[in-house]
Symmetry: C2
Subunit: 418 residues, 2 copies
């Protein structure tokens, strides 16, 4: 067996557990010394591969790998960058394969979402075209949970745990503060096209009908002002308050983003997030006091609130990716396969990246309540195990301890990128 | 000794640990059966006292009190309501004392902020005026940390831990995502007049010069667009990204709130939170990609991220308040007194509520860096112990377990409030 080097890189929006995938990949790669030589990372995804901006993971000892696995964000740096189609930009591929060849990369692991699976498919095809011996593997991650072919995406469970905990806690705060006048609280979560994170906040209610969140607005359902406002009013009249989860990407029936159309009391047009727009709409039309929260990066970086299930998924796909690589299974992605909801049982199976690249897995109709303003029991059964379990982690000075991993640069062997 | 009943109530914005104060007050009151009979709560603060909307804590067993102490929000309900001056509204005081007398209330504990201390002072004076035997005690709480006479306010340490953790984690996310173009992240935290929570995010940097937050905007310092933008640009040019913490209440030198003056790229006037305005200002003037987070209620309700120090403070003031009540120390508030920074040592002492009512303790000048854009080492020494320590808490189904306390209504003895 020829010993080749491995290159791992991170792409797209990062998560609380993407580094757990990296740590598991490194650990697993070290268990294949006959097949795998050096284990490198690219800085900022494929950009680092193009720029020959590589780092060496050799200095990470077991303690450092353990710490890395519990560190949010992308320790190698991520990017939002897609390779051009090979025919449009052959020079880009020339450069990429020059870098791979210069460092004898035989295994390429790309840890990302739908777009990254496309990158893997492109690189795999390009390698075959030029006869460069490479095994390219996609490794799933995204808080959006929208990767096709996998029951869920590593990163989602922890962000879902964060969002559901936030709704639970903020809902209790709102209930305390609600006296005579109606009060509403709107939580805006990530999800431009897929409402998985918004749906997950339904877990906060624990099946109680009147518990927050009272309304969930998904991008899968066209936003209807009147139906929504009628429901808000109904809830406030019964409880004195109302909590709403909004996906950032909700749209009206005409396809326009709600965040682009805002209503303030004076009729000014406002630009803002969807949560702010919805909160203002309620205030303008129903007169209730309104609060809104936009956790933004906090929801996908919350290493202090990782789901143990999600962490296990993240590690499993990292380990499986290396096993597939060593087995020469080119152009596949380790996917989570659910075997049972309760007790939750799952396994990992390879899927062809070409079959899933650039697709988007949306919240399916049977997970959405008939009125479009909440989710179903089937959705809850799906979501419940994904946030399960807490992770005991190190703290320092009252904050999570996230030591920076030592990742020295790999000496360059090529002239700078043209 | 005459046995009288005790009435406890919550006021103002609630916190992650206000119920720990309640639990400690109840536990302590039960240890004084000669002095204290029933232990009641008023629903929604002084509003519940006026409405004779009282609940009985007798059904809370030890397990329920333990759970209550780890539950965020105000379990009794809170309010934003100030009593009128007695001369303006004698009927209000007539009603209040009729309720107190109907339930033989001899001890009144009001758990709130600066305004609540004023309520305590008013009730104490009114009781004396009419010869009603009452011991009225103020019990401090506020995430704003702006209560005079106390080294810190219970509730602040946990919100500070949340805000600093959020900046730490989001800062790591931002660093991962920052490639060639500059990126900024703005975290807006609570604080209309006092910048304590914004200052606390400085803990995220752990003393490293280039670590987030790079800039902290406090309401104590007039906002200067040009100086701020110059600093952002400087940071982005060095690091590729910049993180900013903004107090919601920052103002320009002319006294106008920054949140009222927004700049979008097209010159439209926007209404928004201070964080959004500052992020948009950066984007409009420097062209950097911008993200902003507004945790809103999430930051003060984060029972999952309580500071052990803060929890200890919250319990201590609840216990001390009852001890003062039994000792007949009318119109005082238990204050946290710091004895040493490191090791952190503190005690609780009574202060006269009349000396502190309606005052606001701002971040002092020696805690603010000379350029007004960050805090000093003295601030860090003050802040550090307040976020220290994690609390092991029960979880259920992947979310914090917050069982609702059983608080049956006390039968009414009076006709409804006129």
């Amino acid at each position: 067996m020829t010993r080749r080097n491995l290159l791992y890189a991170q792409s797209g929006g990062v998560t609380a557990v993407i580094n757990a995938t990296a740590a598991a990949a490194i650990e697993t790669a070290r268990r294949h010394p006959q097949a795998i030589g050096a284990i490198y990372g690219a800085r900022h995804g494929i950009l680092g591969a193009l720029a020959e901006d590589l780092v060496d993971t050799a200095a990470l000892d077991d303690a450092a790998l353990q710490a890395l696995a519990l560190t949010p964000g992308g320790a190698f740096g991520s990017c939002r960058f897609d390779l051009d189609p090979p025919a449009d930009n052959p020079a880009q591929y020339e450069r990429l394969f020059a870098v791979l060849a210069a460092h004898d990369i035989g295994y390429f692991l790309y840890n990302g979402g739908n777009g990254s699976m496309d990158t893997v498919a492109k690189i795999s095809a390009a390698a075959r075209d030029r006869g460069y011996p490479l095994v390219a593997i996609g490794v799933p991650k995204t808080v959006d949970n929208d990767i096709e072919g996998s029951d869920c995406s590593p990163g989602f469970g922890s962000a879902a745990k964060y969002a559901a905990t936030g709704m639970l806690e903020a809902g209790m705060d709102l209930a305390s503060m609600s006296t005579r006048k109606g009060r509403v609280f709107v939580l805006e979560v990530m999800g431009r096209n897929a409402g998985w994170l918004a749906a997950a906040t339904a877990l906060a209610a624990r099946g109680q009908e009147d518990a927050p969140p009272h309304i969930i607005l998904l991008p899968e359902v066209p936003f209807d002002d009147e139906a929504f406002l009628a429901r808000v009013q109904q809830v406030v009249e019964r409880l004195g308050y109302c909590t709403v989860t909004v996906s950032e990407g909700i749209r009206r029936a005409d396809g326009s983003l709600v965040m682009e159309q805002d209503h303030d009391a004076k009729g000014h047009v406002q630009l803002g997030g969807a949560g702010q727009c919805v909160a203002r709409l309620i205030h303008a039309r129903l007169g209730y006091k309104h609060h809104w929260a936009i956790p933004d990066y906090l929801q996908r970086a919350a290493g202090h609130l990782v789901s143990a299930t999600d962490l296990a998924h993240a590690r499993a796909v990292g380990a499986a990716a290396v096993e597939y690589a060593v087995a020469g299974r080119d152009a596949v992605m380790p996917a989570i396969v659910r075997e049972s909801d309760e007790p939750y049982r799952w396994t990992v199976e390879p899927v062809d990246v070409r079959a899933i690249a650039n697709l988007e897995r949306l919240v399916p109709p049977h997970f959405i309540r008939e009125d479009g303003l909440h989710v179903t029991g089937a959705a809850l059964r799906y979501l419940r195990p994904l946030v399960e379990g807490e992770v005991v982690r190190p703290w320092r000075g009252g904050l999570p301890d996230y030591p920076a991993p030592g990742l020295p640069a790999v000496p360059r062997r090529l002239p700078p990128q043209p």
